[in-house]
């Protein structure tokens, strides 16, 4: 079987975890199918990264070019298309990240590749690929098969696979593919860091976090009282920020903060993977949610299935009783 090609993702000089997660999965798929694993490294001044990747792949294809300094789909896509056309990999893996979701779908159209997005598992049975992905915001798993094609494209969900240690000694190959100048149709300007607010939730041992289930802005005061009684801060999932109830710096998740408190109490949060990725390393996770099938319960140590409007006041009373 032809190679498994993994697009190495990096930002501001650092390889991102999803790169190693994909390479680890690619190696186990490679073992099962006989396919070699190739890491494709596009960037500027990426020599050190190539050395790191050697341990994780049979071959590292390196293209070092100033035009590739910042990710830009308008530059990356034609380069990637050329590499895929010349090498004919059996499988192309790209992270389902802010970069990957911007790059993979248009590449799939341009090369007419069978394409599945946000995969949480992949298997190869008798030279046939199958992917598992989630629908309905993590409530249902879908198995997807691909049309018979020389190359199949997937994006892979961050944290779906563990970061594997690399022990191999792959070779580094310099690629000679023409890199276009950044076109006027899409130019990178700059990265802007998120604004810093009054409370740094990453510094707190106790986080009381709320989600869509809180429903009304006026219910926030009840949560703030609970947080105060536990000496914690109030954080949230994305819908609460979208609604304008809490500022962006209180958001836990992939596009917000990553927190590792001693206690994470998730109230009315369903637990989509974007949120879980920001809090799954908390020491103790407790979830209160109406829906027993909410994905948050798979990440939690303790759970209460119930209406938060009833559970939160009752919990506040019980804590007060214990303190009395």
């Amino acid at each position: 079987m032809n190679e498994i090609l993994v697009l190495a993702e990096h930002r501001e000089g650092e390889l991102r975890d999803v790169t190693f997660e994909m390479l680890g999965k690619a190696r186990s798929l490679g073992k099962a199918s006989g396919a070699p694993v190739t890491a494709l490294l596009l960037g500027a001044g990426v020599g050190d990264m190539a050395e790191t990747l050697k341990a994780h792949a049979d071959e590292v294809l390196k293209l070092d070019n100033g035009n590739l300094k910042h990710y830009n789909s308008a530059v990356y896509q034609p380069v990637l298309a050329e590499v895929v056309k010349t090498r004919g990999p059996a499988l192309v893996m790209i992270g389902h990240t802010a970069f990957g979701v911007d790059l993979a779908p248009s590449l799939a159209v341009a090369l007419e590749l069978p394409f599945a997005a946000d995969c949480i598992d992949l298997e190869c049975a008798g030279q046939v690929w199958k992917a598992t992905r989630q629908i309905y915001e993590g409530k249902v798993n879908a198995t997807v098969s691909f049309a018979d094609a020389p190359t199949v494209l997937v994006t892979v969900r961050p944290s779906a696979f563990p970061v594997e240690e690399g022990a191999g000694e792959g070779k580094v190959t310099e690629l000679s593919v023409a890199v276009p100048d950044e076109p006027a149709m899409r130019k990178f300007l700059e990265y802007v860091e998120a604004a810093v607010g009054d409370v740094d939730i990453t510094k707190s041992d106790v986080i009381i976090s709320i989600g869509r289930g809180v429903r009304e802005e006026e219910n926030l005061s009840m949560i703030e009282e609970l947080a105060a009684s536990l000496g914690g801060v109030v954080a949230c999932s994305r819908p609460v920020v979208d609604a304008g109830w809490l500022p962006k710096d209180r958001q836990v998740g992939s596009s917000g903060k990553t927190v590792k408190p001693k206690l994470y109490l998730a109230i009315g949060i369903s637990g989509q993977f974007q949120h879980l990725s920001g809090m799954k390393s908390a020491e103790t996770i407790i979830a209160i949610n109406k829906d027993p099938k909410a994905p948050i319960f798979t990440a939690a140590d303790y759970g209460i299935v119930g209406d938060l409007m009833k559970v939160v006041p009752a919990l506040k009373d019980k804590i007060a009783e214990l303190r009395a």
């Binding site: 799939a108 159209v109 341009a110 997005a117 629908i135 130019k187 979208d242 917000g256």
Partner: protein
């Protein structure tokens, strides 16, 4: 400035007890309220705000069953000028690429400076149709957009990356942008608007109307196939504290005390 917005009707499943259909190829839709996909609602609002500021019309386009007329009418009630629905059994069960191909056939003949889509749908969650659509149309794209500033023949865009970092880009129009939730505050339709929209025409397009071979779209035109749905394995999961709210929270308070939080 004219803007096309692609919208989709989805079932509200965030707090629903989702059940699988007997063929394991879909979920039981009965009893689930239908609504505009959340990110699409922000895309629509963004289009309305921009056309209010810079003049021009918003056209909403959807691919979906009869019930999705409701989403188009609600969009017109909020201010969209025209509505198009891709209505043909041939479009059903397409993967993101096949769906993008169908949408492109409808969008390419419209006059537009921007195409806005939600960056993700809450049902299929591919995060892909908008960007695939851009490639089908041959125009530039960017997704996870949380900031927009219009210039002359160009737009400055802020894309939200992991960790809250924002990537600023300058793009030429026309282009396709995938709009992230939270970029604005979506409005509600007025009663008057809803009444007026109920009488408006929706342009229906079949595959043949769009010059598409039925085999190139929908399930037949897809290069991936849904095999089977299942509930995610529960794993170890949480220890559920049972009882009435008072009982369960009593147990939780005890856990919190044992762990030294109370």
């Amino acid at each position: 400035m004219n803007i096309v917005v692609c919208v989709k009707q989805v079932p509200e499943t965030a707090e629903a007890d989702v059940k699988l259909a007997s063929d394991k190829k879909g979920i039981v839709m009965e009893g689930l309220p239908l609504q505009i996909n959340e990110a699409d609602n922000y895309a629509l609002e963004q289009a309305l705000l921009l056309t209010e500021e810079h003049d021009g019309d918003v056209t909403v386009v959807t691919l979906g069953p009869d019930s999705s007329d409701e989403v188009l009418r609600m969009s017109m009630a909020k201010g969209a000028a025209e509505a198009v629905r891709l209505s043909d059994p041939a479009f059903d069960r397409g993967d993101p690429v096949a769906t993008a191909r169908a949408l492109a056939a409808a969008v390419k003949d419209l006059e537009y400076d921007l195409v806005l889509t939600g960056c993700i749908s809450s049902d299929d969650g591919n995060t892909a149709v908008g960007m695939a659509l851009a490639e089908c149309l041959g125009v530039p794209h960017a997704t996870y957009v949380t900031q927009m500033e219009m210039g002359d023949g160009e737009v400055t865009v802020g894309r939200e990356l992991e960790g809250g970092l924002v990537e600023k880009l300058q793009m030429k129009t026309p282009c396709v942008l995938g709009i992230q939730t939270g970029i604005n505050e979506p409005r509600y339709a007025s009663i008057m608007g809803i009444a007026k929209a109920s009488k408006r025409e929706i342009a229906m397009k079949s595959a043949a109307d769009l010059g598409l071979d039925a085999g190139s779209v929908g399930e037949e035109g897809s290069r991936t196939r849904l095999e089977e749905l299942a509930f995610p394995p529960v794993g170890e999961g949480a220890e559920i504290l049972e009882g009435t709210p008072a009982e369960a929270s009593g147990k939780l308070a005890t856990v919190l005390r044992e762990k030294g939080f109370v």
